[in-house]
């Protein structure tokens, strides 16, 4: 059994919807600047084996995204480049895979297809992929470092698949994953891993992962029993980290008693409205399921400044409202209505 200590798992994400420094993130991607880009990475020091890591870069706009990932362990490299598209609660992605082994020196290329579905606080994600050898030879290799039978008799075009389920319980994210791939001569074909991440400060989390699975894209990275402990940093706690942010929807509907506010954004558990009409006290909106929230307030027609807070985060401008500088380093949305 190999125990790996993650010295630093860094997910340095530039928020997809970031405004200029000091301003709060909007719920929708802005037009210019670095807003649509997200950069993430992880690193591990795997005991006496090797240093490994993973970086990802995503670019998203208008409901789609291109995302690249690059991971390595020692001299072995895995790369993927894909296109993502959000359709309702689901995100579909497809793209190309590449892998490069060091002993023996073999390069592989292929494709993957993945899907992710978010329902409330539960997220289900799966992927299938196929690689083919494009350079080098397994059969010709006779060096040290790997079991000969494993690679000579193993598949030249390995395929893999995995299925993961994640659920958020307040500040804790729990996940489980099962992995399957073309069986190698000396290894089984299935693996698993479980993880728990605790968000103790906005943007920071401690994560523990354990199981029997490879860590990267390269199909010949061996399965090993392992435990990884890491520290993650992300400027925003987005359930769609590294992919396209879903578009929220907000509206105000005047009625005889005042006004009813409607908000929709899947994957959010708690929404609070605060503004001139609440004396800037956060008021929880009623969750109706499916990412929908409502709030009725008995206030007269007029013009008001308001913000939303999602899952206890920073105040945001509700989607679709004009935004003005609030004088405190952020923005507030302006809403007005008449009878």
């Amino acid at each position: 059994m190999t125990i790996r200590l993650g010295v630093l798992a860094v997910a340095a994400a530039v928020p997809l919807a970031a405004q200029a420094p000091g301003k709060p993130a909007r719920l929708e991607a802005p037009a210019v600047g670095l807003g649509p880009f997200a950069l993430g990475g992880t690193g591990e020091w795997a005991g006496s084996v090797a240093l490994g890591g993973r970086w990802s870069l995503g670019f998203g706009a208008a409901g789609a995204a291109v995302r690249g990932e690059h991971d390595w362990l020692g001299r072995e490299i895995g790369t993927r480049l894909g296109v993502e598209r959000s359709v309702g609660r689901a995100t579909l992605s497809a793209g190309a895979l590449g892998a490069s082994l060091d002993q023996p020196k073999v390069s592989m290329a292929g494709a993957f297809l993945a899907a992710r579905l978010t329902v409330g606080s539960v997220q289900v994600e799966g992927e299938v992929g196929q690689l083919a050898r494009i350079a080098g030879s397994f059969a010709a290799w006779s060096g040290a470092g790997r079991p000969v039978d494993t690679l000579r008799s193993g598949p030249q075009s390995p395929s893999h698949g995995w299925l993961a389920v994640r659920r958020r319980f307040g500040p804790v994210d729990l996940a489980g994953r099962v992995v399957a791939r073309t069986r190698l001569a000396s290894e089984g074909s299935a693996g698993w891993e479980a993880s728990a991440a605790f968000r103790f400060v906005d943007g920071w989390a401690v994560a523990v992962t354990g199981g029997r699975a490879p860590i990267g894209t390269s199909p010949y990275l061996p399965y090993r029993d392992r435990v990884t402990i890491g520290l993650a940093l992300a400027p925003r706690r987005s359930r769609t980290f590294g992919s396209v942010e879903r578009r929220g929807w907000f509206a105000a509907e005047p009625d005889s008693a005042g006004v009813v506010f409607h908000f929709w954004l899947p994957g959010i558990e708690r929404v609070e409205l605060l503004g001139d009409l609440t004396d800037w006290r956060p008021v929880a909106m009623t969750a109706l399921g499916g990412g929908r929230f409502d709030l009725a307030l008995a206030v007269p027609p007029g013009s008001y400044l308001i913000n939303l807070r999602l899952d206890g985060g920073k105040p945001l401008v509700p989607p679709g409202l004009p935004a003005v500088d609030d004088g405190f380093g952020g923005e507030a949305g302006v809403i007005s209505w008449s009878r």
């Binding site: 208008a62 800037w280 013009s303 400044l305 609030d326 004088g327 302006v334």
Partner: protein
């Protein structure tokens, strides 16, 4: 005459309980002094109180809260001078937002003159956001005067705002679309 004046004085001097509940004493007193000045000048006090409460909720320090309230007080005063004594409180607030977003008092005066008695709340609120998106204030002011002369209703401004926001979310440049839409609503007349 004496009794109403006494009552008015008491009203002006009575501290707002929300400020005392939510702010530390020095900050509450400083904000109350600004509110008193505003009310004496015929300006609405509620937006100033709300600005202080907003700062408290967003974790701003006392001095920053007082500075923001004072800035809004100045903006309301300038908006009153530009939009006239008949302007409603929400129109004054919209005018203060326009000034805060980069507009000038002179531009507000011209828009008031062009619009006549029509309330400018929606026009100023929506166009202040466009100033924030980079629309030069001088061009914005001239375009808005054209739209007001053409009697473009408030609903058209809100529709235009939604169109511009959609363009922005798609990652396209906003100003060319904004200019094109404005020209469509109120074409420039050749001399």
């Amino acid at each position: 005459m004496l009794i109403p004046a006494v009552l008015l004085a008491l009203a002006i001097q009575a501290p707002d309980s929300l400020l005392r509940e939510r702010l530390d004493l020095p900050t509450a007193r400083a904000v109350e002094a600004i509110v008193d000045s505003a009310v004496r000048a015929g300006l609405p006090g509620r937006p100033l109180i709300q600005k202080a409460l907003e700062g408290q909720t967003k974790g701003a320090a006392g001095p920053r809260i007082v500075a923001a309230v004072h800035l809004l007080y100045e903006g309301l005063g300038q908006a009153r001078a530009a939009l006239g004594s008949e302007a409603a409180d929400d129109e004054l607030q919209a005018g203060a937002i326009w000034l805060r977003s980069g507009g000038t008092v002179a531009q507000l005066i011209r828009m008031r003159r062009t619009a006549g008695t029509r309330p400018l709340t929606t026009v100023l609120t929506v166009s202040a956001e466009w100033l924030g998106r980079g629309w030069p204030a001088a061009e914005a002011s001239a375009s808005l005067e054209r739209l007001l002369r053409a009697d473009v209703p408030d609903t058209a401004f809100l529709t235009l705002r939604a169109d511009v926001d959609r363009v922005a979310r798609q990652g396209a440049a906003v100003l060319p679309v904004l200019r094109e839409r404005v020209n469509r609503l109120a074409p420039v007349r050749n001399p």
